[in-house]
């Protein structure tokens, strides 16, 4: 049972981390389909919990070849940019959203669209909660559309990435969502 976001924000960092629901690769390979009918307005999606360390930030810098010093050089970040520490990359946060939506919809559904803003500086030591709440659902063209608000909150409730998304899930008696997905026209 997924802990409500409101409850997580009352916990300390270690307790929050223990509620991480990010699936393993094996769990994703064997995931049971979530159908349109399984989802209701007001439902909270599973929470993904991240506790980034300097090693994670350095690895991301290397992986995407972004060598801006604010992400790995503490002295530079503190003394030149006057930041509170090295900063978590916005590009990493961006990478979490499609992963999160993909995990929720697979194997037969698809993320359609997402939009979000970058707010707040995130630093090693923060515990980050990726969350989403279903705000609307509708059927169209034999497919199920789920709209949601989402974000990435810090342990002290600061919303660092307010946004929204729409995903497409199959109906229980419907066909698979076609790939490539083409949204139905009005």
């Amino acid at each position: 049972m997924s802990a409500p976001l409101e409850e997580l924000l009352k916990m300390n960092r270690e307790e929050i981390q223990s509620h991480n629901e990010r699936p393993t690769a094996d769990e994703l390979r064997n995931k049971t389909q979530t159908y349109y009918e399984d989802v209701n307005v007001g439902d909270e999606l599973p929470k993904y919990i991240y506790s980034p360390t300097p090693t994670h930030l350095f690895r991301w810098s290397a992986a995407i070849e972004n060598f801006h010093r604010i992400h790995y050089d503490l002295d530079f970040g503190l003394n030149h940019d006057k930041n509170p520490s090295i900063l978590v990359h916005g590009s990493w946060k961006q990478s979490v959203v499609p992963q999160y939506l993909k995990d929720f919809t697979l194997p037969k559904g698809w993320p359609w669209k997402a939009a979000f803003e970058h707010r707040a500086m995130l630093v090693p030591g923060d515990t980050l909660i990726v969350w989403a709440v279903v705000t609307n659902k509708y059927e169209k063209g034999g497919m199920g559309f789920i709209e949601m608000d989402l974000g990435m909150k810090t342990q002290d409730g600061v919303e660092s990435m307010p946004g929204s998304a729409t995903v497409v899930l199959p109906l229980k008696d419907g066909a698979d969502i076609p790939y490539p997905f083409v949204p139905p026209t009005d």
């Binding site: 960092r13 002295d75 503190l78 030591g125 515990t127």
Partner: protein
């Protein structure tokens, strides 16, 4: 953000107490405006030097109250040299 240093009188402070006071993230980063960067200890003489990045000195003072390590003096740092690099804050 601004940088502050404080010198504390902590007569009788033990290593165990030092560790306990700083053992969780919330103890060195109590909120989003206050980060304790470094704590130097000379426990034999009962002295600590702490370095803090904070929006205002008041935020650092809140942390000092929280630890119970009274500060004999607090400084607003405006120039740093670190391994040859000089930073004007």
């Amino acid at each position: 953000m601004a940088r502050f240093l404080a010198i504390h009188n902590v007569s009788g402070l033990t290593e165990e107490e030092f560790r306990e006071k700083l053992s969780a993230v919330s103890k060195w980063r109590p909120d989003r405006r206050t980060t304790i960067l470094k704590v130097y200890g000379d426990l034999k003489r009962g002295k600590l030097v702490t370095e803090c990045e904070a929006v205002e000195q008041e935020h650092f003072e809140d942390w000092i109250k929280m630890t119970g390590w009274p500060a004999e003096s607090i400084f607003n740092v405006d120039l740093v040299m670190q391994v040859g690099n000089i930073w004007k804050l």
